[in-house]
């Protein structure tokens, strides 16, 4: 009788303690450095009420649960990850009520081959996180068909529709993301927000 009562009490307590939680899954690119990756995890743990924070360094899968009553938005999560200096590639929220929210996939447009140009541009940076940020900056532009950045040579190999983009516009977008190019330098304030491993040597004028 006593044990039955105790079981009931325990079950009631657990049921009471369980708040509805939204589940967040973020695909983060460029987690090559454990100090940075664990830093992202650590910073999110500072969010009051956050639970089940998990990060898989190898896959870049970052997930956590957050009280549904706080209605944390997708934009706020993306912004927080970006503020921490990381590049969220895809975010999925499964709300406690079953609704799913996700980033809209990037639209892939057909580009006439005749208009495609290929360039090699110097872009300052250090590491895999830099690579993710640089490629994300280019992927947001219309008319980019291919992009690859080499951390050793610092060269960005990029193909684009010359009717929509130019070396200048691409360089500008990359500088806005925090990376110096020969044509455009990043704002000091943007550079300062980069994570520690991404603080490359600034290009001289």
């Amino acid at each position: 009788m006593i044990s039955l009562f105790m079981s009931f009490l325990l079950m009631s307590t657990v049921a009471f303690a369980q708040k509805p939680m939204d589940a967040f899954e973020v695909q983060v690119d460029g987690l090559g450095c454990p100090f940075c990756a664990y830093g992202l995890e650590k910073k999110f743990k500072e969010f009051k009420g956050i639970k089940e924070v998990k990060i898989d360094i190898e896959t870049g899968d970052f997930s956590f649960a957050y009280p549904a009553e706080k209605a944390l938005s997708l934009a706020a999560v993306v912004s927080q990850v970006e503020k921490a200096g990381y590049s969220p590639m895809k975010t999925v929220i499964t709300r406690a009520n079953g609704l799913v929210e996700t980033d809209a996939p990037l639209e892939v447009k057909d580009v006439a081959l005749a208009a495609v140009q290929t360039k090699d541009l110097f872009v300052a940076g250090n590491c895999e996180m830099c690579e993710a940020r640089i490629l994300k900056a280019t992927s947001r532009l219309e008319g980019i068909t291919e992009a690859a950045w080499d951390s050793k040579t610092k060269m960005l190999h990029i193909s684009f529709d010359s009717k929509q983009q130019s070396e200048n516009s691409i360089s500008q977008a990359i500088a806005l993301a925090g990376h110096d190019t020969k044509l455009h330098k990043a704002q000091a304030s943007t550079y300062e927000t980069l994570p520690m491993c991404c603080k490359y040597e600034r290009l001289k004028n």
Binding site: C33, P34, F35, E58, N126, K199
Partner: protein, 281 residues
């Protein structure tokens, strides 16, 4: 001579591994230098810190929240689990000391019993990345606070602040106390800084080499070993800062180094492996 180094030299437990290593060694002609002799694959382990306790080589595996002991084949033979992002580790007085980046603590574990003690410090830590002991002295690299906490046997001293100037730090990740100095891997200032035991700056090492994330170091009797993480190489310096050698063959994101009975061990985070070198005299 550092306690860590003395302890390691006295350790006999790795003899079998070293004999195996010697049999694999290829004799290189020419000057005195470190020569790669063996690579040990660590399946399922992404090593960060290295330490030897008794007969065993221990590695922190931060990605999997554990510290493991491995044998000469790289197989896990013992483990300490349920940790919170363990980083660099140290062996001292029969205990394995583990910095927990995720819980802001440093704990001592005695592997046979797995009893855990928390290291009492003078102030709160924010992501401790390394700990070192030398007799009664101890020091902690306090990563997000950009400082070193040092206990001289009587009292704690804090030195360093965030910055680029000499004496400042930008995310210190590893350190070692020796007879005279405290050596600090000032990771994202891409250098090693050396301090006296009053916390006063003495010298800087590694600036001309343009390191990209100096994540780990080891100080031997006459050399300093620094892992240049993003440049995928290990730099060997003399104590005066002169570059002695660059090791980069098959390295990808080396993160810590350690000498055990005259053999140099380098932990490779990305490749999940250990590289062993012998000194060709």
């Amino acid at each position: 001579m550092s306690y860590r180094f003395t302890f390691l030299r006295q350790s006999l437990g790795l003899l079998g591994l070293l004999i195996l290593m010697g049999s694999c060694a290829k004799k290189a002609a020419g000057s005195q230098e470190w020569v790669l002799s063996k690579t040990i694959s660590l399946t399922g382990v992404n090593p960060i810190g290295l330490a030897v306790l008794g007969d065993s080589l221990w590695l922190s595996d931060g990605d999997h929240n554990r510290v493991v002991a491995v044998n000469g084949s790289g197989q896990v033979i013992d483990s300490i689990v349920s940790l919170e992002r363990p980083m660099h580790i140290a062996a001292h007085q029969g205990q394995l000391w583990i910095t927990q980046y995720g819980s802001d603590t440093v704990i001592g574990v005695h592997p046979p019993s797995m009893k855990r003690d928390v290291l009492a410090v003078s102030d709160s830590l924010d992501a401790p990345a390394a700990v070192s002991f030398f007799g009664k002295e101890k020091a902690i690299a306090d990563f997000y606070n950009h400082r070193i906490l040092y206990f001289n046997g009587d009292s704690w001293l804090s030195f360093g602040k965030e910055g680029k100037d000499l004496g400042d730090f930008y995310y210190p990740t590893d350190l070692q106390i020796t007879e005279q100095f405290i050596w600090v891997a000032d990771a994202y200032n891409n250098r090693v800084q050396v301090f006296d035991k009053e916390g006063q700056f003495v010298k800087v090492i590694g600036v001309p080499q343009k390191m990209n994330a100096a994540t780990g170091l080891f100080v031997s009797e006459d050399q300093l070993f620094v892992t240049d993480f993003e440049n995928h190489r290990l730099l060997v310096f003399y104590h005066d800062g002169q570059l002695a050698q660059v090791l980069e063959q098959d390295l990808e994101k080396p993160i810590d180094a350690l000498i055990v009975r005259d053999s140099l061990y380098v932990a490779d985070y990305k490749k999940s492996q250990l590289q062993l070198y012998y000194f060709d005299r």
